[in-house]
Symmetry: C2
Subunit: 255 residues, 2 copies
């Protein structure tokens, strides 16, 4: 791999450089293959460069010509090279450099969206993106304090779902103030999600890992819900809570 | 901290030494406080030694005498010491050395249990323990291939729930063969959990992170269930799947 590519890929571990360059990295076989497959790459994320090992080339001989057509630059490299420039401990297959899509507001449609009030852990963010994709949610509004959607760890943890779920970073309290439909948020004193009459259109707010939904956001919640507890754990992880709320919403709306 | 304690605590990062010594470590304020509080330490896990910082002592002045009565040895140390012998990146509060309870089979009672077929990631195991505790499940049967319940990472990830949930490691297929009640497992072709008529007594099997429930275990599943999918993610994380199955079970049985 040329020195300038090595330098670029390494720099993209860092948020500042990702946004200066407008680029992010996608690592590992599953994520790269989904990125290169148009029917999975629903967000139509464009690819600048592809670095792959001979093992990747052997496994995907037939598709490789098609894959290489989509990128400006491609190169056969070793697993050691991928591991030295990337963030995965083991990567014997591929790494792609892709363009960060523009941060544009969503057109309001008849659908459920998520809003992340202040999710700090990239692994949690990626897990939430994967859950959103499972439940057919493809728009996530993120507070400016929420960790970067395009960090290598969040992208990896999303297991390819970053291709079907789009973020919009904004001042969340202002966004919610203007939003005209139902806004759901989980609180200890909320109404059980088992009985909640979820609408098809609205926003589900997910709060911070330690502190839940901040006050300046909580004031815009129109439907306070809660997840019934039957044992003694004090709380649930943010991604787990997201999954349970989404599951109850879908069961009530479409189940 | 005396050299021999330093050496012991560090050795307990390793499974082999944990079982040779019959000891494990509990790190961080929340977990240590729960361990030292009898009403939270439901499993009655005994403590050998307690190491705490002056900050911990200041925050818990009144309880410290009570805490120290429960341990054979205690010592005031610095945060740097805790960090150098423990596994947490930052720990400015406490670390306890506790006794691993004996690995005993559970008496069969009228309750739901979890069975982990082959969970490899300690973070997932800890997350599952926390979910079990939330839903009032306190017995987890683990295949011998499942990662160690008492590893520092699993203990941390359980957020104190290791004190209320007990593991039993055994040859899972043999255990299930003899088990006389309902056995639930998630498969792509199973019946939706929304419609499943869950019993109060039984076992919910959670499969491996990549491969799901192994064949030699699958043959004992009496109720094949599935989690309805509305989008395009290929799968859900094992802990997320556990939470959704438990939530649907509780809603149907008690909700």
């Amino acid at each position: 791999m040329l020195k300038r590519w090595q330098k670029l890929v390494k720099s993209l571990h860092n948020k500042k450089f990702r946004y200066e360059e407008g680029l992010f990295i996608v690592e590992g076989e599953k994520s790269v293959i989904e990125l290169l497959t148009p029917e999975n790459n629903v967000q139509d994320i464009k690819i600048q460069a592809l670095f792959y090992t001979s093992q990747f080339a052997q496994l995907h001989t037939q598709q490789l010509t098609f894959f290489e057509k989509q990128v400006t630059y491609s190169e056969l490299v070793t697993a050691e090279t991928l591991q030295s420039v990337g963030t995965l401990q083991t990567n014997d297959s591929a790494l792609a450099v892709a363009y960060i899509p523009p941060n544009l507001p969503f057109r309001i449609a008849n659908e459920m969206m998520l809003a992340l009030a202040d999710i700090r852990d990239p692994g949690n963010l990626g897990a939430i993106v994967r859950i959103a994709d499972w439940y057919g949610i493809n728009k996530i509004i993120c507070s400016e304090t929420t960790t970067d959607f395009y960090s290598p760890k969040a992208i990896s943890a999303s297991m390819g779902s970053f291709l079907r779920v789009k973020p919009y970073y904004c001042q969340l309290d202002r966004y919610l103030k203007e939003y005209p439909h139902s806004i759901y948020g989980a609180f200890l004193d909320g109404k059980s999600v088992y009985g909640e009459d979820f609408k098809n259109q609205g926003i589900i707010i997910i709060g911070n890992e330690s502190n839940g939904i901040p006050e300046e956001i909580a004031q815009y919640v129109s439907h306070r819900v809660s997840i019934p507890r039957f044992g003694k754990a004090e709380s649930l992880n943010a991604a787990i809570a997201t999954a349970i709320i989404c599951d109850n919403w879908k069961r009530k709306s479409f189940g």
